[in-house]
């Protein structure tokens, strides 16, 4: 058979080299597996979903003729005899961002084949995620008790409640799904599925430790989105 190498000229330098790599055969991104590529592209698409949600919220907020509830009052907690603004949300944000740290460490340990540490860190991440969702449920309860509804609230524009519940709810759903998958992947790590190349129940494909990293991509994304929601809802 002819030598295909003759159609692959020497790789040029600089930008042209980048273009050549990108357009070369088999894979556009040489060291990226299928699973990772899919997660990145999914996250890009999901970014557009969150982007549309947040832009819609901003439009509603900027175009409403009724005053917008004051966030430092609405999101204050009465603790130790004083109203402390944004205290709950500060803790929630802290917990979620920290969970990104433990997730990153879990990925590291997974690649070192340290199953024990990986599982511990993933469970820790899941726990913090669950705590976040729990605190969010607490916040929702508090707001609902104070009379905030999707269709109205005591303090101003009805769109406050609508967008708040919709966007934090959508984000909370993402976190919840993340927690569930963290637990599933952690269980697989624990059982050593990835060492044995055990086949998945649904997909019947062999798993490997990269799943931990792909899981991590999703988790970091959810955390990153939270930063924007935090900024636009609580700090604006």
């Amino acid at each position: 058979m002819a030598d295909i190498a003759q159609t692959a000229p020497d790789r040029p330098d600089g930008l042209k080299g980048i273009a050549a790599d990108w357009a070369s055969d088999q894979r556009a991104f040489k060291s990226v597996s299928w699973g990772k590529a899919m997660m990145w592209i999914f996250l890009l698409s999901d970014t557009f979903v969150f982007g549309c949600f947040l832009l819609s919220y901003m439009t509603a907020r900027m175009s409403t003729t009724v005053s917008w509830p004051n966030s430092s009052e609405v999101f204050a907690l009465h603790m130790f005899g004083a109203d402390i603004p944004l205290i709950l949300i500060a803790i929630m944000t802290f917990v979620l961002i920290s969970s990104s740290g433990t997730m990153a460490m879990a990925v590291n340990f997974a690649y070192r084949r340290n199953r024990r540490m990986t599982v511990i860190l993933m469970l820790f991440t899941a726990l913090m995620g669950a705590t976040f969702v729990g605190m969010q449920a607490f916040e929702w309860t508090k707001l609902i008790q104070e009379g905030v509804r999707p269709w109205g609230n005591p303090w101003g524009a009805a769109q406050f409640g609508s967008s708040f519940f919709m966007i934090t709810g959508f984000h909370g759903t993402h976190v919840t799904i993340g927690v569930i998958f963290l637990l599933i992947v952690a269980r697989k790590v624990w059982r050593g599925d990835y060492d044995r190349g055990q086949r998945g129940f649904f997909t019947s494909r062999r798993g490997d430790y990269e799943h931990v990293e792909i899981m991590g991509l999703y988790w970091h994304f959810v955390d990153l989105v939270w930063v924007f929601i935090f900024a636009f809802f609580y700090l604006w």
Binding site: M1, A2, D3, I4, A5, Q6, T7, A8, P9, R11, P12, K16, G17, A20, D21, W22, A23, S24, D25, Q26, R27, A28, F29, K30, S31, V32, S33, W34, G35, A37, M38, I41, F42, L44, S45, D46, F48, V49, G51, C52, F53, S56, T59, A60, S63, T65, V66, P150, W151, A158, Q159, G161, S162, S163, M166, F202, T203, S204, R205, R206
Partner: protein, 592 residues
């Protein structure tokens, strides 16, 4: 053995990538029903899309009957007419064209054309189809729900979409429509991720990006666009669902209905329009780009000539895809926008015409002095070029603010978009089916029935939509079930309306011939052999026809050239297959 020089680093995988893990079905159910094979999924997608498309076709007959002979049919009330319009438009655009091009052709052609064994995630691919089917069932359910389907128009503009005056607005119709769209988007995303990753990361050895057939480029770019455009529709649907079910006011301003002040207030209907058209305009190109790609391959193959300006064609597809995200508000010139926005969007809209026109020139230049075989695929491809140019020209009218304002919401618009995104892509779909049916089934479609189908469809489509431009120009509004005796409308319009209706019925029945042909040829069609069109691209080089599970037998193909080596001087035949190492022709487009 074949040697490959690693390009960037040593990460170039072996021909058989480790991630390739085919799922081997074990039972009848997993082979034919819950199949993870992209080819089976493609046929499931196509079958479902064509079936639901027939519903939309019948609805168009009913609408035409009402428009042509108003007052003759008692059951077509104004409410029913709105419901027909809405379901017809939505089904045609989303559930037929999008599903057929991406779910149908995408699934069948991408793995075969890039030399892969299957999509990268067959399981998600399978789910994609079943969720699509669910979305279709929910959509159909709305025909039987109390109050019937929604009559809000396919654009679903609030506030009317969820008010009681609109059919289905305060009943099940709109809810089922929104739920169905949300399901469609979820299902599509699962498939779409597959198509994109397969093209990016799952190609055969030697298949560089700049050697991919334009069909793959078109479907790939359209899928990327869909993954970025559908989110806007998703968000719009969720928010409208909340407005309808929870009483939020995202899109609902304060309003009075039948003397009653409603609970709504403070929302922005224009926000919905922005979200909808941020999806809606790219959607036009989501159905157009696969058509562009496919038609390029049909023309090149059946004119036995390499495509003119391959690189230009690729870049034009990509640039059109990118630009189509910044033109959406040309659908909103009459919605009330700052004049500067109108200026901006008119400019971007007209700029898109440049790469689009470039593609048309290249198709024509490919035909120029080609060895044109007037096969059925070629006939449909030629019909596409003519029709697309026609629709594109009226698009230039509508893209300009001052011209659009009087034409907005007239039958002129209806004629325009049917030409450009209705008839043109459908013609390509027919051409593509005549072209690839032999690969899918091993038999040729019957030529006589095909010729009949082509001429009736092509001429009939012009009989329907050409006069419609005139009807619109004299001012007949769209979405009116009955224009009555309005004084400014000349009698000729009524005559034309009756004529159009007759043409629409004839064209509709011609499609039944096509459907019959699909089944008839399955059994009685002429034996096709593996490569009846003597085409170069990989799908024609499979070891058996139809291609086996896993597509390629024991070894994956290795690609040595682009897909357009037709009539190469000195070559033994008038085509050189992509996996033929043969003489190097120097046509190695792009970085190898």
């Amino acid at each position: 053995m074949v040697e490959v020089t690693p390009h960037a680093n040593n990460a170039v995988p072996a021909a058989e990538v480790a991630d390739v893990e085919l799922y081997h079905p074990k039972s009848w159910w997993t082979t034919y029903v819950f199949s993870q094979d992209a080819k089976v999924i493609a046929i499931q997608y196509s079958g479902t899309a064509i079936a639901i498309g027939m519903v939309a076709l019948v609805l168009s007959w009913l609408m035409r009957l009402q428009l042509g002979f108003p007052g003759t049919f008692d059951f077509i009330t104004p409410e029913a007419y709105y419901q027909f319009i809405t379901m017809h438009g939505m089904i045609m655009v989303i559930y037929l064209l999008t599903a057929l091009f991406l779910g149908g052709f995408g699934n069948y052609l991408i793995p075969l054309m890039v030399g892969a064994r299957d999509m990268v995630f067959p399981y998600a691919n399978m789910l994609s189809y079943w969720i699509y089917l669910l979305a279709v069932l929910v959509l159909i359910a709305s025909f039987f729900a109390p109050g019937g389907p929604t009559g809000a128009g396919w654009t679903l503009y609030p506030p009317q979409a969820i008010l009681s005056g609109t059919p289905g607005g305060q009943a099940w119709g709109i809810v089922l429509m929104l739920v169905s769209l949300i399901l469609f988007i979820i299902g599509f995303t699962m498939g779409g991720l597959n198509y994109v990753v397969t093209v990016l990361q799952g190609r055969a050895r030697g298949m560089t990006l700049m050697r991919m057939p334009l069909t793959v480029w078109g479907i790939f770019t359209a899928t990327v666009m869909a993954l970025l455009a559908f989110p806007a529709l998703f968000v719009a649907c969720v928010m409208m669902l909340f407005d309808r079910l929870l009483g939020t006011s995202f899109f609902m301003p304060a309003l009075v209905e039948l003397g009653q002040q409603l609970e709504y207030g403070g929302g922005s209907p224009i926000l919905f329009q922005h979200l909808f058209w941020f999806f809606g305009h790219p959607e036009v190109y989501i159905v157009a780009l696969p058509a562009f790609g496919i038609v390029s391959d049909l023309i090149s193959t059946h004119a036995r000539k390499n495509i003119f300006g391959y690189r230009m064609m690729v870049w034009a597809i990509v640039i059109i895809g990118a630009l189509s995200f910044v033109v959406w508000a040309h659908h909103m010139y009459v919605s009330g926008m700052h004049p500067w926005f109108g200026f901006f969007f008119a400019t971007t809209t007209l700029i898109i015409a440049v790469p689009t026109a470039l593609k048309v020139y290249n198709w024509v230049l490919t035909l120029w002095r080609g060895d044109i075989h007037l096969t059925l695929p070629m006939l449909f491809a030629l019909a596409f070029i003519v029709t697309f140019v026609n629709g594109g020209l009226t698009g230039l009218f509508l893209g300009n603010v001052v011209v659009d304002v009087p034409l907005s919401d007239t039958m002129f618009v209806v004629a325009h978009f049917h030409m450009v995104m209705g008839v043109a892509p459908i013609l390509v779909i027919f051409g593509a089916i005549y072209h690839w049916y032999p690969k899918i089934t091993g038999r040729m479609l019957n030529e006589a029935m095909g010729q009949f189908h082509f001429w009736v469809t092509f001429l009939g489509a012009y009989a329907i939509f050409f006069p419609m431009h005139y009807v619109g120009l004299v001012g007949v509004p769209r979405r009116y079930p009955d224009i009555g005796g309005t004084s400014f409308i000349p009698d000729s319009v009524h005559t034309l309306n009756a004529f159009i209706t007759v043409a629409a019925l004839v064209v509709g029945f011609a499609q039944l011939v096509f459907l019959f042909n699909l089944f008839w040829s399955l059994k009685f069609g002429r034996d096709a052999g593996g490569n009846p069109w003597r085409a170069t691209s990989l799908e024609w080089q499979t070891p058996t026809t139809p291609p086996p599970h896993g597509n390629w037998g024991d070894t994956l193909p290795v690609v040595y050239r682009w897909a357009y080596d037709y009539s190469v001087p000195g070559a033994p035949e008038d085509f050189i297959a992509q996996n033929d190492p043969g003489p190097q022709t120097g046509h190695v487009a792009g970085p190898a």
